[in-house]
């Protein structure tokens, strides 16, 4: 199981992601710096969280135009699974790999807490380890997680099963439209989500609810406790 983590200046969740991937796959992921123009041959590419380029212009906007993201787009087009978490989700939207945009939280506050996520589509390659409608725990930490897409796009996403995670009722931390917390692209091989599954993969983290995303994407048999 080979994985790669994209590194950009200003990210700060890359080490958590590297630790999570190392624990799950038994080997450290390749790291790919922003100026690289190609990716190694891997089974999963991850764009981690943080504040790439200081969130200048818009969260993820500058990072999305970096050379490495062209390589990520090419890999995604070839069908390689790509996961973007938090700033990674913002970057994938800004790069046009996912529909919609992430705006400033409706209450204008940075939120850092645990939320409950409903698995809206357990049929994606990232969610096979979960059951349809299952509610999992996951931490969030962001200032710009207020997902927005126009009605036409939302309808297309809804019909196509592209809405993968919603904040469970009463836990929407940022005003995201339709409580959207995570989405996939039309082809189903690019997932973006605001919550941090990499922070809930070992019992020492207080739970293992986030593990299923990595295990699903990497076709590792699930170790999730029911």
């Amino acid at each position: 199981m080979k994985t790669a983590v994209v590194l950009l200046p200003g990210l700060n969740r890359d080490r958590d992601m590297i630790a999570a991937l190392t624990t799950i796959t038994g080997q450290a992921p390749a790291t790919v710096w922003q100026t690289e123009t190609s990716l190694p041959d891997v089974d999963l590419v991850v764009v981690p969280g943080g504040f790439s380029f200081g969130d200048y212009l818009r969260a993820g906007a500058i990072a999305a135009r970096s050379p490495v993201m062209r390589a990520v787009a090419e890999a995604a087009a070839r069908g390689v699974p790509v996961l973007g978490v938090c700033n990674g989700f913002q970057i994938l939207c800004e790069a046009g790999l996912l529909p919609g945009a992430l705006m400033r939280n409706a209450a204008l506050r940075f939120v850092c807490r645990e939320v409950k996520l409903e698995v809206v589509n357990a049929g994606t390659r990232f969610t096979k380890a979960y059951s349809q409608g299952q509610v999992i725990r996951c931490p969030v930490a962001h200032h710009d997680g207020n997902y927005f897409a126009d009605d036409e796009t939302l309808k297309r996403m809804n019909d196509g099963g592209q809405i993968v995670f919603r904040y469970a009722e009463g836990t929407n931390p940022n005003g995201a439209i339709h409580d959207i917390a995570g989405i996939v692209n039309e082809a189903g091989n690019v997932l973006g989500m605001m919550p941090h599954p990499e922070n809930l993969i070992e019992p020492e983290h207080g739970g293992t609810d986030g593990r299923g995303i990595f295990e699903s994407a990497l076709n590792i048999s699930s170790s999730l406790a029911a």
């Binding site: 212009l57 906007a61 135009r65 919609g100 409706a106």
Partner: protein, 82 residues
């Protein structure tokens, strides 16, 4: 050289929590009669060309590709802004 000003604003219908917060702060200052506030961004750009048509093409390209996120924002380009 051509100088241009680009104004990026949120599309109608896109919630602007920052504009709302400014609106309420104006109320706190006792400035009355404010119907609504929408926050936007201004970019002043200098281009090393005297060809206005070429400049317009370049400015539109930079708006489409970077300065505006056209999912949520509109942009307007003003050339030779004083």
């Amino acid at each position: 050289m051509i100088k241009a000003r680009i104004v990026v604003t949120l599309k109608t219908g896109v919630l602007d929590p920052q504009g709302k917060a400014i609106e309420s702060a104006l109320g706190n200052l006792g400035i009355e009669g404010v119907g609504s506030v929408r926050q936007g961004k201004v970019f002043d750009v200098e281009l090393n060309t005297d060809d206005a048509a070429h400049a317009k093409t370049q400015l539109d390209a930079m708006c489409e590709q970077l300065l505006a996120n056209t999912v949520i924002e509109n942009y307007a380009v003003e050339i030779d802004h004083g």
